[in-house]
Amino acid sequence: MSSIFKSASEIANSLTAGDVTAVEVAQEHLDRIAAVDTDVHAFLHVDTAGALAQAAAIDKRRAAGEKLPALAGVPLALKDVMTQEGIPTTCGSKMLEGWRPPYDSTVVAKLKANGVVILGKTNMDEFAMGSSTENSAYGPTHNPWDLTRIPGGSGGGSAAALASFEAPLAIGTDTGGSIRQPAAVTGTVGVKPTYGAVSRYGLVAFSSSLDQAGPCARNVLDTALLHEAIAGYDPKDSTSINAPVGKMVEAAKKLDVKGMKIGIVKELSGDGYQAGVKARFNEAIEALVSAGAEIVEVSAPNFEYALAAYYLIAPSECSSNLARFDSMRYGIRVGDDGVKSAEEVMRMTRELGFGKEVKRRIILGTYALSSGYYDAYYGSAQKVRTLIKQDFDAAFAKADVLVSPTCPTTAFKIGEKANDPLAMYLNDIATIPVNMAGIGGMSLPCGLAEEDGLPVGFQIMSPAMRDELMYQVGGTLEAALLSKWGKPLLSSAPALGAK
């Protein structure tokens, strides 16, 4: 039986048992990509030779009797915002077309150390700015549930790769919801760990104080396995937390929430949330109550300002982070005819190299940081951030974890919101507060909305450095829903590829 539809832990078991080789597993996934990715377009680059070589090396070590890490030989899809030595890294931008980084990000180094086989790089909104993957310079990714719909963003490629069974594991990055929102709309699982839990070294920065890489998979246990593989202190990232990694796998396997207090955030439901989203969310709450959890309602009055503050902080940081793309050292160069000045070449390169949304945010951020406006915009936004943290602190005093729908709606149609940035920004209304406070957030599927038959995401938020709580609650909820449904949600997704 093909390993395509197996989970990462099942593949890992088969590899350990010797039922299958890593090369066979990698080849099956590469074949799957070849078969369905023309339709899905989850990948920007498939590293066939590299993946097979990594797999062969794992097989060789296993054959030699070496004890290998849990995920050794399991394939993974890497978001194209992470550097991998010698492998094209575009961040979904024309600007970096052809750039092959000379170094591995810490996440990639850890994946390699764990023997994870990296299949290739996945599509994303340009420089992680967007909620639909439509902002990729290389064309949109399609939602495997309905190819006319968006797979979420910015990490739509990673989520779609999971949902289309092109890879059992993926890496995403989450600045305002870019892991959780794609997970929600594709019926997969995605975790944004506590800020600082996973090194940002080699993650091409969008907004440094909000960016966080995290694990994505098709179930909670696989996500936990990947979480433990990539997390940990890294001296190369000054904002990384110097503390031991929590026991995510153990928490995911607990399947027990008796006596836990689960807080429903009043402000993250109600108006603007699709009926099917609310219905599935409420059913999930009932499942948690049946499993023994206690439900409390909490209020976070300042969440109202989160979106506005986010759209000042993130563009401000991005305006500075993206200044380095000036054609001098890497990436494309436009207008270098020996006559034009360096300044003109920089300007022409940035004009052509950046897409509309990136330019919009650079301009917004440049303005917000300008002398005379700084206090009113960036300064106020930082204050809001403090207030949001205080709201979370107060809420976590009443509840062990907080929950909400991940997104207000299910996946929308490609093109539907492409010309309405504000409508697009509203997708992240429930995910952004987590980034603003630097805490952990998970999205896992909680069913299909009856009105459109599309997946709905359930968000669990845990206090900083208590990421294991998300896994404990998420694992329990997943098991409860699975026993109710009788089969994984993704098995109801339409078949892909040549029939």
Binding site: G202, S238, Y330
Partner: protein
Amino acid sequence: MSLNYEQAIEKYEPTLGLEVHVELNTKSKMFCGCATEFGASPNTQTCPVCLGLPGSLPAVNEKAIESSILIGLALNCSIAPFSRFARKNYFYPDMPKNFQTSQYDEPICVNGYLDVTIETDGGPKVYRIEIERVHMEEDTGKSLHVGGATGRIHGAEYSLLDYNRAGIPLVEIVTKMIPGTDKYAPEVAKAYVSELRDILRSLGVSDVKMEQGSLRCDANVSLSPRGSGVLGTRSETKNVNSLRSVERAVRGEMVRQANLLEEGGRVIQETRHFQEDTGLTRSGRSKETAEDYRYFPEPDLVPVAPAADWIESLRATLPEKPSTLRKRIQESWGVPDKEMAAMVNADLLDTVVATVELGADPTKARSWWLGEISRLANESEVTPQSLITPADVAEIISLIAAGELTDKLARQVVEGVIKGEGAPREVIDKRGLKVVSDDSALMAAIEAAIAAQPDTAERIRGGNIPAAGALIGAVMKATGGQADAAKVRELLLKHLGQA
């Protein structure tokens, strides 16, 4: 120009402001592990971090923090319990990230002072220079603009970029406005930079080589009509790379501004570039419309919060102040003021001290370094210290004291050491410079001299002792200068019955 310096100072009073940039001599760069050695081949001391490659992150060099705190303590500053890095955003090809990581409104050291003494008409006078701040930042790369008349980017055919310097730790020391220096402004400016340089050297935190750019001074000068109390517009003179230039630049700028104001002109707020050949300044970048650097706190770095006990332990390691050291040395060696000043001005105090510490007599050590060695250094336009080591000089002095060398022979030994013929003893052996102290050999030469000049010998016998000079000279000549003149005299007079 109509007004000379004296006329200018009659009408106007100067206010100074001095900014000194110091390259720290840490082994590695400010935010990465790259080497900092001066003069390496272009772009060989770089990595993803100091090249600002996408995804790379800075990590602070603890040693640079320590050096900055030491500087602050030596300058009587308060050390901030909490300080932050900030990004200074502007585009320039030699700046890899197109922002400089610096400190802005939260510098590491504030509110210090440095006392300098200068000679005035009324004797030595102490000026207290107040220090506003000491902050850390990273250096930029270096641009070499090829072609074009000015060597600047505008009009150049192409530019070469060397990023070896990018990320070298810099400390910027900024004074408050310095009023009241009156006609001594140029001397005060020079004395301040000189004293600061001595302090930095004594702390061992920088090579403080102005000619290599490891210590760079920007001099701000403004004039107010005498007695008006109205502060004039300031200019900022850059590119001042020797102590003498500091004095010349301030003097030149005062005269330029005075003449401009006399002619009814207006001083423009701008940077000016000091020109070593003419002693004048050339107009640079206008600062009339303040550039907006869009400073904001560096999100990739955590705040610097040095522990109070660490600061105190650093304070305990502060070396003796250079001014105290000078006073102590002058008293213990009994050096006249003028000679002390000569030694300090020639930048030879430390070298002479080192020579004395190796056993040389202070007066002899001073006379060798300020005399013969300085003369040779002047001839080849290098520093005396670059020619010979204190150890070699100390050895030569001890050989003279032991009677193994005459002053004349010693000069030849110095020359040999400088020419790379080896250590003093090797030079003596190779060149055969042994003092002829064998009495019988000397007697033979003396008898030969008497035989050649019988009349002179007769006059000496008759009590005309000064006439001995002619015979001694003949003996010295005959022995190729290798005889000890005093010994020759003694033997000669004894032989002629005069001793």
